[in-house]
Assembly symmetry: C2
Homo-oligomer: 326 residues x 2
């Protein structure tokens, strides 16, 4: 739930004026995104998203995020593109926050994605991985395995208040996942948070990807693992194999997985479930009760984690539909 920072009229007018896009015609706070303040701004030149970066986003990371969006857009990937002001800057300041203006991407995010949509997401994810290969700025995955233990320590003492036994489960799972974690898989820029609300469709056509604020350098197959968690479970947290088959087939139609990647998928999926369980449980414990954000329930990620652990125990990625792939 966004709009943390209110912007005064004259400030907004001056800010928009610096881009030479004409005067502001309308400006609406958008109730999406939990990290930043977003306004949908219309000028004579069209529609734009104005983002004010709140404290949770490190200012030093902004050149990576904005540069990546520009890089990907230049490679033909459909994503919001930062607009540069008259002086050539894509990062300014507004309302005391770092601020950027990006192009508006048409489309809707799907509340109930179907297998055909998962296929499109797989295709788009692989294209993103290829398009990002020659992007020059690196960024560490702060929520990769090295970040799990410190994050866990921050709420370990309260974990069992989320659900009894959670601390023990996390400890046991983390140890098992870290022992299995692959090291030498193909890597590059990954999105790292490609949930349904970050993928827009017009009808059945994928129209673009948004929200690159978790993007970083990591293994490509980890990004697939995030998507298996984000796209292929039903509301009752059962895995939908048709969606898994479609997602993986879409991805491999652009970039076939290597043998070691295929073997690693169950462990990566288990790790991705743990990563979202950790952040959700952390935020569940720490978000003040009166905060203007929707708290994401951690439990569905505990359930996913249990599911992936059983797949790892079976020793085969067939459950995800990977054995059906070329």
């Amino acid at each position: 739930m966004a709009v943390y920072t209110e912007v005064a009229d004259e400030e907004l007018a001056q800010f928009i004026d610096s881009y030479g896009l004409g005067a502001v015609v309308s400006c609406k706070g958008i109730a999406e995104g939990v990290e930043n303040t977003n306004y949908l701004v219309a000028t004579a030149s069209g529609q734009f998203i104005l983002t004010l970066y709140e404290k949770r986003v490190a200012r030093d990371d902004l050149p990576f995020f904005l540069g990546l969006m520009e890089h990907l857009a230049a490679k033909g990937l459909s994503c919001p593109t930062p607009v540069r002001d008259r002086e050539g800057c894509n990062l300014r300041e507004l309302g005391g926050r770092p601020a950027a203006l990006v192009t508006f991407l048409e489309g809707l995010w799907l509340r109930k994605p179907q297998p055909r949509h998962c296929h499109s997401v797989g295709v788009a994810l692989a294209r993103l991985h290829l398009a990002g290969q020659d992007f020059a700025i690196p960024r560490v995955n702060a929520l990769g395995p090295a970040g799990w233990q410190p994050l866990f320590e921050r709420f370990r003492g309260f974990a069992d208040s989320v659900t009894p036994g959670l601390a023990d489960t996390i400890e046991r799972e983390m140890a098992a996942i870290l022992a299995d974690w692959p090291q030498q898989l193909p890597a590059g820029v990954i999105h790292a948070d490609l949930f349904p609300d970050n993928v827009f469709f017009r009808g059945d056509q994928l129209s673009g990807l948004i929200d690159f604020y978790f993007a970083c350098n990591d293994m490509f197959a980890y990004d697939i693992a995030v998507c298996l968690n984000a796209w292929c479970f039903e509301p009752d947290v059962t895995f939908n194999r048709d969606k898994g088959v479609a997602l993986l087939a879409g991805y491999q139609s652009v970039r076939p997985l290597t043998g070691p990647e295929r073997v690693a998928v169950p462990t990566l999926a288990r790790g991705a479930a743990l990563r979202f369980l950790l952040t959700r449980a952390h935020d569940w414990v720490y978000t003040p009760a009166d905060a203007l954000v929707v708290k994401h329930d951690p439990i569905p990620y505990l359930q996913r984690l249990v599911f992936h652990s059983s797949v790892v125990a079976e020793g085969s990625a067939a459950t995800y539909g990977l054995e059906d792939q070329p």
Copy 2:
């Protein structure tokens, strides 16, 4: 902070299809308005606001609200206009809620209105009063004097938790205001909630009025009194006489006040301050701490109430700038 009701893709597509406006191009939840869920929807035909009416709005009142917007728009007032579907209906259902599609109004609301803007608001308010005169459906002001006591009773026991002594102050003020309340002033359809966030400007030009969901039949001068409270106080809750002069002059340039209306302004302003103090204090006490709404601080309305009481004691509306008017 809106978006209480999520809408599924297919449902939205079907809903929009019934208006014959082309397919949905984008749909964003808007983080404004505390009563209803609002989406900004774009189709091939343009932009629209899709409103899902939440429980706080009585379904029986919707024909009044929607009919009033149509009536005012037909009279040339710039306001959102309900769109009728292929069967001629302007009220449908979506996501289990009553829902309407209205035209999108360009413009921004002013965070720091100046006297010249207050003048425009006065003009627009008077035009609204004239345009609404032949609207056929009546609606009682649920937050008029008859509603104050029952509303107060709901939180009286907790009032001093908002600020010590509040219960006594409200009781004393309410009795004094009710004793003075005028009865026979010119009346008709009033907006009853014309705060800055409900008035859009493009540059210095007022582009339209929104949010008619408190509109009702009551004295015109009470609507002016609401605006004096809403537009003419500075952030430190001092009254800005220049703004009062401008608002009243703007109004009277379209519809001059009668003698009895001029005399009643201080009492009406005091009553309007009490009305907003009551609803804000009520909501302050009852809004769950984890609700996704901004709780409005009641204290600035207690301060306004004290100010208006002193004006009433002085026995003159000159403080508001009314003596400067023709």
